[in-house]
């Protein structure tokens, strides 16, 4: 589904990502883990077009996306959420999700200005679809809330609903469990399973090892911008190189 070859990204003198090759197969939950500063978020930014790689290539379902702007990645079917919330705080929860569905409701300037009956009907459908998504992530009671009045845990789920509104085939989740309490983290586990059950391929960047080990079919370990290990969760967690990177040499 997604193929990235020899990706590299530098910030000044820092090699954030260095020579990472990865392949993501359709229909599974893949996790990217690694210590702080390992380059996980940078890798996700490369895979969603937010950052342009210095070197390397990205193909999605056979189409070359290297160097394209982020909105083209989205149009190709790659959605994402953000570690540091990127909510449209000037809108309600419902409007956030509706804005996320832009790719499926794009209208011309003339139609937007004149509001023909067809557009009004499409808007009603868009509103209903957004409501369904808010229910799906468990935010039905926040539908008409101003997003800047919502608690942190709800905003994390709003990001997921907004990303799903674009109907992505590949969804990149950047630390969705960060800052959540154990109950919320368990609910998130269920939510990600339900997303995967809809046929969306999920890439999870996460520090919560319980979540990663329970959910993922494949795990990729990053360390200092390089790929350290890759495989099934059990296989990776027993890898001496991984233990050394996480816990220090004496535990290996």
């Amino acid at each position: 589904m997604l193929r990235a070859a020899s990706l590299a990204k530098r910030f000044g003198g820092v090699r954030a990502v260095h020579d990472v090759t990865l392949e993501i197969a359709a229909g599974a939950v893949h996790s990217i883990i690694g210590p702080n500063g390992a380059g996980k978020t940078t890798l996700l930014n490369l895979l969603s077009g937010i950052e342009r790689p210095d070197l390397g290539e990205i193909h999605f379902d056979g189409a070359a996306l290297t160097g394209e702007p982020p909105h083209r990645f989205a149009a190709a079917g790659i959605g994402r959420t953000f570690q540091n919330l990127q909510i449209f705080f000037n809108m309600s929860a419902l409007e956030n999700v509706m804005a996320g569905a832009w790719l499926h409701q794009a209208c011309g300037l003339a139609a937007a200005l004149l509001r023909p009956p067809g557009l009004a009907r499409a808007e009603q459908r868009a509103r209903e679809e957004a409501q369904v998504l808010l229910e799906f992530v468990g935010l039905a009671r926040w539908t008409h809330a101003a997003s800047d009045a919502m608690p942190y845990g709800a905003l994390k789920r709003l990001e997921i609903a907004r990303a799903l509104a674009a109907r992505p085939r590949l969804l990149l989740l950047d630390e969705p469990a960060a800052g959540l309490n154990p109950t919320e983290a368990r609910e998130l586990d269920g939510l990600i399973r339900r997303i995967a059950a809809r046929g969306v391929t999920v890439v999870l960047v996460e520090h919560n090892m319980k979540l990663v080990m329970e959910l993922s079919q494949r795990v990729l370990v990053l360390h200092e911008g390089r790929k350290l290990a890759e495989g099934e969760p059990r296989q990776v967690s027993a890898d001496p190189a991984v233990l050394e990177a996480y816990l220090g040499a004496e535990h290996a």
Binding site: S48, F73, A74, N90, W102, R162
Partner: protein, 289 residues
């Protein structure tokens, strides 16, 4: 609404024309989150464009006016396209430069523009304060209706989204540059339309209408009335157009007053007059007595 005398009609027409510019400018400033410091330049180009075509080349105003508006839209597109690909407030700098160039050219090219003294412009097929009043009133209602439609449409959501969080908007497939450009071109075209109408209405134009001061006046109207509020833009235009008429004796202090108003707005009601009043009204209603 019937108004008592010609002077009142004249002020109302001025308010309407400025309100049309401000509703357009608000789409850019309040919704797309971009600032233009040269909208008076577009206003002036619309005024002189239509005026020159009509006065020097004998075009009927019904043709010269749309031609001038289309010309300004093309210019705005050419200027905005490369600049709006960049993130940040580069548009403010570019429009500041453009506005200054326009007002300089209008003042110095006196063989075509009449120079600093201005030039006479042929009248429209209708004349009289009352006819103009109804035409401008209709235009304003139409502009407000179109702007409200746009804001409530998927495109309006896309605009607000990229203003709220540009990276997330891009990740939702929204091409930020394209939407900012559309808002910019639309707002420039509305300024040109109002400029051309002003020229034919008053029958005379001077370069002062294209000046940097007028650009600042327009931005102040939008900020004072309330950013991201179409009715705020109309109220801002109304207040800032009528006040100087009432305080004609203080003409020399206009710039000082404008600066002070901008500062006080930012300190005491940064969201502007109409949004501030709206939330005060809602809060008062919700409070149990």
């Amino acid at each position: 609404m019937a108004l008592p005398n010609n002077y009142t009609y004249e002020v109302a027409i001025l308010v309407g024309l400025n309100a049309v510019v401000c509703v357009g400018l608000n789409l850019l400033v309040g919704y797309a989150g971009q600032i233009s410091l040269g909208h008076a330049g577009f206003f002036g180009l619309g005024a002189y464009g239509s005026g020159i075509l009509a006065a020097r080349y004998g075009w009927p105003p019904a043709l010269s006016l749309p031609a001038a508006v289309a010309g300004v839209a093309v210019l705005a597109w050419l200027v905005g396209r490369p600049i709006l690909r960049l993130r940040g407030h580069y548009l403010a700098m570019a429009t500041l430069g453009l506005g200054i160039i326009v007002s300089q050219v209008l003042a110095t090219e006196d063989r075509i523009t009449g120079g600093p003294d201005g030039m006479a412009v042929p009248a429209f097929f209708f004349t009289g304060e009352k006819a103009w009043y109804w035409v401008i009133a209709t235009l304003l209602v139409l502009t407000v209706w179109l702007a409200q439609n746009l804001i409530d449409s998927p495109r309006g959501r896309a605009l607000r989204a990229l203003h709220g969080a540009e990276t997330a908007a891009a990740a939702a497939g929204i091409d930020a540059a394209r939407h900012k450009l559309a808002a910019f071109v639309l707002s420039a075209a509305l300024a040109a339309l109002a400029g051309a109408l002003t020229a034919h209405y008053s029958g005379f134009i001077t370069p002062s209408k294209a000046s940097f001061l007028h650009s600042i006046e327009l931005v102040t109207m939008v900020v004072f009335g309330g950013m991201a509020s179409t009715f705020g833009a109309v109220v801002g235009a109304a207040v800032l157009t009528t006040l100087p008429q009432l305080l004609a004796g203080f003409k020399d202090y206009e710039l000082v007053a404008l600066g002070a108003l901008m500062m006080l707005t930012m300190i005491f009601m940064p969201r502007g007059l109409v949004p501030t009043l709206e939330s005060a009204f809602h809060a008062a209603r919700r409070k149990p007595r």
